[in-house]
């Protein structure tokens, strides 16, 4: 039922529609500003934040530079603790592994904890094709799934919806999927949360298979870690008989002790809380407590390509906190759908083109979906220099010379030719000055995008360079 991102328009086209949507703009502004303020307060409480950030960055770099070593260690630890490890090179293989594992249980239904990795591989759709129904249990994912919508945020996939819209979706769709919404449902967030509780309760208590992702996988101990808020994660990780976790290979961290960094930086960056309500950790299986069958599916799906790019590699440090989305002025005005990918916002603008390559028109447009203001880098708890990677990817796109870039390349080269010689620049300036009365208020061609909404500055009679030369001549004459 959930749609896919296939065939999405390029970012500027999607952004044109999004910026004109008053409801969307209002919802996004309210939500992002709320969470920005909370994050700033929570981060401000820790006077060693910059040191935590540096340590988190270093732990991730250590892992990535020796990822083969840590993956083998993780596999050994999980296996020793009673879990089974599977390796999936791409989305199709991961979906096949999960489908087979579910089939082997004889079940036709499963519950899911919100997971970016399973969104990325389109697991729900693959399961549906195999006759297996996956129920999303995170409130925002539920809203998206019931609304036959697409996620628009890493942490809060339904950020583009306000309470009134959510109420309508619940009233309209819940009955078809299970327990209906109560008749008198209001748009009070508490009432909406209660409706979700009742709707999913029976599913939690009866479903025998669960699928999750993980925030961290500890190589040393084989421990998996999931941070959440609602308790739906605990339900999925605790009640079923079989648990299948699909985890990107970059989620590995070396040691248990490394968690003391991320358990401080992730909640504060993410929801602006000192700590999220629930964190679950498990190591293999525990007799008498929780699922007695545990499968870890390690997912590559393009990550090793990202790893191969020495500049772009840092994107794999991402711990999916979404602080960069919440602070981004572009995301705030377009929402996540415009990015045409499960990974929207600044991190999506560098991750998606790296995971999928910059060959497609959409992917090629994403590195330009930023004013390079640098706010994302400033708030990133693992110091991913997103502007640096954006510029790096722009180079890749520009040198490929795809649609529009041939003309741009020629224009850039021409500009560089003029600028590489101060006499040529001086001549060009004089040409511009002499034509100053001829410049129309609205320009044609691509530059017209400027004059659509902005006046041009008046063109001066003489450049600074000319003024300086005249002044120096005058000085020499006087002396």
């Amino acid at each position: 039922m959930t749609g896919t991102f296939l065939g999405m328009p390029t970012f500027p086209e999607a952004a044109r529609a999004a910026t004109a949507d008053a409801q969307l703009r209002h919802n996004l502004r309210k939500a992002t500003h709320t969470i920005r303020d909370k994050r700033a307060e929570a981060v401000g409480e820790l006077d060693d934040w910059t040191r935590l950030r540096a340590a988190g960055k270093a732990v991730k770099d250590r892992t990535l530079r020796h990822l083969d070593h840590y993956l083998e260690q993780l596999e050994a630890s999980v296996t020793a603790a009673g879990g089974q490890v599977h390796w999936a090179a791409d989305a199709a293989e991961a979906n096949r592994i999960v489908t087979d594992l579910v089939r082997a249980t004889g079940e036709r239904e499963l519950v899911k904890v919100k997971s970016m990795a399973t969104q990325e591989i389109g697991l729900n759709e693959a399961l549906e094709a195999a006759g297996i129904t996956a129920y999303e249990t995170d409130l925002a994912e539920l809203i998206v799934q019931l609304g036959d919508d697409l996620p628009s945020h890493i942490l809060v996939p339904a950020i583009h919806r306000n309470r009134a819209e959510i109420r309508e979706i619940f009233l309209r769709e819940m009955a078809a999927w299970g327990t209906a919404a109560p008749d008198g449902l209001t748009d009070d967030p508490r009432a909406l949360a209660d409706a979700a509780r009742v709707h999913l309760r029976e599913k939690f208590l009866s479903t025998k298979v669960a699928v999750s992702g993980a925030n961290f996988a500890v190589a040393e101990t084989g421990t998996l870690v999931v941070l959440e808020s609602e308790g739906n994660g605990r339900m999925c990780l605790t009640l079923p008989e079989t648990l299948i976790s699909v985890v990107g290979i970059e989620k590995t961290i070396p040691t248990w002790d490394d968690l003391d960094i991320f358990l401080q930086t992730l909640p504060r960056s993410s929801t602006g809380e000192r700590m999220n309500p629930y964190t679950s950790t498990w190591t293999g299986v525990t007799p008498g407590d929780g699922p007695q069958e545990f499968h870890l599916v390690l997912l590559d799906n393009g990550r090793s390509d990202v790893l191969a790019d020495e500049v772009g590699r840092q994107a794999l440090r991402c711990i999916r906190c979404s602080a960069c989305l919440n602070i981004c002025p572009v995301y705030e005005r377009t929402g996540g759908h415009a990015y045409g990918s499960v990974y929207p916002g600044p991190i999506g603008a560098i991750l998606t083109p790296q995971l999928k390559g910059t060959g497609g028109e959409l992917e090629a447009s994403l590195p330009y979906a930023s004013s390079l203001c640098g706010a994302c880098y400033e708030v990133c708890p693992v110091a991913i220099d997103i502007p640096e990677v954006l510029v790096h990817l722009r180079e890749e796109v520009a040198s490929a010379g795809g649609a529009g870039h041939r003309v741009e390349k020629a224009a850039m080269a021409a500009a560089e030719w003029v600028l590489d010689d101060d006499r040529r620049l001086g001549l060009a300036q004089r040409a511009v000055a002499s034509a100053r009365s001829l410049v129309p208020r609205r320009l044609p061609g691509p530059v017209g995008a400027w004059t659509d909404t902005r006046d041009l500055p008046d063109i001066p009679e003489e450049s600074f360079r000319q003024w300086w030369r005249t002044r120096e001549k005058g000085k020499r004459k006087r002396s």
Binding site: T19, S371, L372, V397, M412, D422, L425, A449, R454
Partner: protein, 246 residues
């Protein structure tokens, strides 16, 4: 002190008043300004749009032009940041370009850094009898870390009433070629910035970067908002004897 002026291509071509103000201000403070004529452009637009090789050529030109200068002033936050932050990444590790740009970077300053840190002044004897609000541009804020410097300079200007800009840290939406490649988002950001500027009731919006001011000013002008955008240099150059004209 002898100060080499890197005027920047945008100021040179479209905003010569800013350059003239810089010269007037620094000479008034008793310093010598030199203008190496072989200078052109820092290459920021090329670099940020993905044309590294073009940017490299312009960086080489910059290094040749300014190599023997002890103090270099770039009255544009983003161009100063380009030289300081990005030049050292332009050349391969250990290359001549990388060594030269790394050595040069610490000698490049924005106007507020030059005045406060290098020349040690905040009161430059300016007079500007207007209500002013200040937009701390992204590069000034995050790459250069200008912090309180521009405010400290503005607070000492006689007759000037400084009013706080709401949501000041928000990007104005210029972003170089971003303004043309993503015109709708850029315009939306510009509209919000213009609304915040207008809400202050200020007559003048001040910044250290004419590129951002061109974008915000162009938006304000199109709206006939009645707010003028002015580079910090022009406010600091203004005196009782020779007041800047709005």
């Amino acid at each position: 002190m002898r100060i080499a002026l890197f005027i920047t291509c945008l100021n040179d071509t479209l905003f010569p008043d800013t350059g003239r103000a810089v010269v007037r201000l620094l000479e008034r403070l008793g310093h010598e300004v030199v203008f190496p004529e072989s200078q052109t452009c820092c290459g920021q637009m090329h670099y940020n749009t993905g044309y590294r090789r073009d940017a490299q050529k312009l960086a080489v030109r910059f290094v040749k032009t300014f190599d023997d200068a002890d103090v270099i002033l770039a009255p544009s936050g983003s161009c100063a940041a380009m030289v300081r932050d990005n030049y050292p990444r332009l050349g391969a590790a250990g290359s001549r370009l990388q060594r030269a740009t790394t050595a040069l970077a610490p000698r490049v300053h924005d106007l507020s850094e030059l005045l406060v840190d290098v020349l040690g002044v905040t009161d430059v004897g300016a007079y500007f009898p207007h209500t002013v609000t200040y937009h701390p541009t992204c590069h000034g804020l995050r790459l250069l870390g200008l912090g309180d410097r521009p405010y400290a300079l503005l607070r000492e200007v006689r007759g000037l009433e400084l009013v706080e800009l709401p949501e000041a840290r928000e990007c104005c939406g210029f972003g170089g070629t971003f303004a043309v490649k993503n015109p709708d988002v850029s315009a939306a950001m510009g509209a919000d910035k213009a609304r915040n500027v207008a809400a202050t009731g200020a007559e003048v919006l001040c910044a250290v970067d004419n590129s951002c001011l061109m974008h915000i000013g162009g938006t304000l002008d199109r709206q006939r908002a009645g707010v003028k955008v002015v580079h910090l240099a022009e406010i600091l150059a203004s005196t009782e004897q020779e007041p800047a004209q709005l």
